[in-house]
């Protein structure tokens, strides 16, 4: 399987193993990044970008990616024809919608933040609560959701089947007619092209000591050491894909706006949470697992492109990176069992921010808009 410039890796090709610490030390020594070596010894396992994982049952092809892109921008995917995937994952906003609480189906309200799709291909747990394992499974959820796209999938299949350009494209790509599964596969293939590449951080990890500024290097030390960021934000995607209850403050609209409250209750009801009418906070992953330890737990997000993907946290309640750093520096939310105050000075906080902003922002992700049939 060949690779394109975003490093797709197909079936039969080993996934990115990343740099082992020993390898990393070696390359770092060559480039005399001595201070870096010291802090990496304290850090989680960090890897530069190499390739994108692709499932065996949905290999990437240019035609499938193009079809997925058309579907991604197609408003037919929503019940009233007003909303496409791109409404809440806007290319110019780093595939978020830039809002604290995501945009919504007209007349309803969402209740959580729209995550960036950049590097979503790396997650093994999708959505803030990790309710699905693959991009293929993920793609259909917002279409069906009453407060997102509110579409009936049986109806959608027929809507797509009657469009000659789509019928032809599905035949070419899948050797069959449009179906919900194939729609999801095509969209997932497109989403696997949304990858943060050539970030200064990658060059730095590969040994280019000049890739980031001195402040950002100090920030990297903090990221790996005193700041404990790399304890969870590790691997190539800077996410351990696990769930933690950090007790992020609730977004006030959860209870102040009856429509947001209604959405919270609706989701809890769908997941058979008995006391859904008396909910006062987002139960997070608990709704999926019913495990007490998952109460208010959410999946660690990627930090790739973090400068562009605010507002932050599952409910967008932290507007800026400064607020996020302050939150962690203060030991997280009240009563959480994972975080302790970090004691970062003002200077250290600035250095950490310099690393996050400067090092983790990759090449601009250019997109040519498709002609939706």
């Amino acid at each position: 399987m060949s690779r394109n410039n975003r490093g797709f890796e197909g079936p039969g090709v080993q996934g990115a193993k990343g740099l082992r610490r020993q390898d990393y030390f070696f390359s770092a020594m060559i480039f005399c990044a001595v201070c870096l070596m010291i802090c990496v010894a304290e850090a989680g396992h960090l890897e530069p970008f190499k390739s994108v994982p692709v499932p065996k049952n949905n290999p990437q092809t240019p035609e499938k990616i193009e079809l997925g892109k058309k579907l991604f921008f197609d408003r037919r995917l929503s019940g009233d024809g007003t909303t496409s995937c791109a409404d809440c994952h806007i290319p110019e906003q780093a595939y978020t919608d830039g809002q604290d609480i995501s945009l919504n189906y007209p007349t309803t309200k969402n209740w959580r933040n729209s995550q960036t799709l950049i590097n979503a291909a790396f997650y093994k747990n999708l959505f803030h609560d990790g309710r699905v394992k693959t991009l293929e499974d993920q793609a259909l959820f917002p279409m069906m959701s009453a407060f997102e796209m509110n579409q009936n999938l049986d109806f959608l299949e027929e809507e797509i089947r009657v469009v000659p350009e789509y019928a032809e494209a599905f035949k070419k790509v899948f050797n069959g007619e449009p179906s919900r599964e194939r729609i999801a596969m095509a969209i997932a293939a497109f989403e696997r092209t949304l990858i943060s590449v050539n970030a200064p951080y990658d060059r730095f990890l590969k040994g280019d000591g000049s890739a980031i500024s001195e402040d950002a290097k100090k920030g990297f030390e903090i990221f790996n050491g005193k700041g404990k960021c790399a304890d969870c934000h590790d691997g190539v995607n800077l996410s351990d894909d696990k769930f933690y209850a950090l007790h992020v403050p609730e977004n006030p609209v959860l209870l102040n706006d009856p429509r947001v409250t209604a959405t919270m209750r609706f989701v809890a009801k769908v997941y058979h949470y008995k006391d859904y009418r008396n909910l006062k906070e987002d139960p997070g992953r608990y709704l999926i697992t019913k495990d007490k330890k998952d109460w208010k737990a959410f999946r660690t997000p990627t930090l790739r492109e973090i400068a562009k993907t605010g507002p932050y946290m599952h409910n967008g309640v932290l507007a800026t990176l400064d607020e996020v750093i302050d939150f962690f520096n203060a030991g997280g939310g009240k009563g959480n069992r994972y975080l302790k105050p970090l004691g970062l000075s003002d200077k250290e906080r600035k250095q950490l921010k310099a690393f996050l902003v400067e090092a983790l922002t990759g090449e601009e992700l250019k997109i040519s808009y498709p002609e939706v049939p």
Binding site: D80, T82, T83, D87, D97, L103, P106, T107, A319
Partner: protein, 142 residues
């Protein structure tokens, strides 16, 4: 958060510097969206656009004809002129023109802002729009 208070705060803060143009975009699947747009413009004819706008948002979705007339009465409007305006769909052509403009620009979300051509989709806090406006004002004075 709704758009109205933010827009009003901007207009207060940037008096003489920002010109506000409002376009109507009644949602096609709401029973009363069109008549509510008519009501806001009819109130505007009598100098009470924002007052009606606020009442409509406050009382949504109770926006049937009788309720609209009640709100007009609350605002002390000339009820004969107001009722004739909404019944006669006096502003229908203007509203339709706005809708066509939006569709032509591939817009489907309310509110959508344009600040000197820079598109901002969805409700935004004052600070968010302020930053864009400040940047644009800086460009203008260059």
């Amino acid at each position: 958060m709704s758009a109205g208070p933010v827009v009003k705060k901007i207009m207060d803060a940037y008096k003489g510097k920002v010109r506000l143009v409002i376009k109507n975009y009644p949602y096609k699947y709401r029973d009363y969206a069109h008549i509510a747009a008519e009501a806001s413009l009819a109130a505007g004819d009598q100098g009470k656009y924002w007052e009606m706008h606020d009442l409509l948002l406050k009382n949504s979705p109770k926006l049937d004809r009788e309720s609209l007339i009640k709100y007009a009465k609350e605002l002390g409007l000339d009820l004969t002129a107001f009722t004739a305006s909404i019944d006669g769909k006096k502003h229908a052509a203007e509203i339709e023109k706005d809708k066509q403009l939006a569709v032509g620009m591939d817009l489907y979300t309310t509110p959508t802002y344009f600040v000197n051509g820079r598109k901002v989709v969805g409700n935004r806090p004052y600070e968010y729009l302020k930053q864009i406006i400040d940047e644009e004002l800086k460009n203008v004075t260059k």
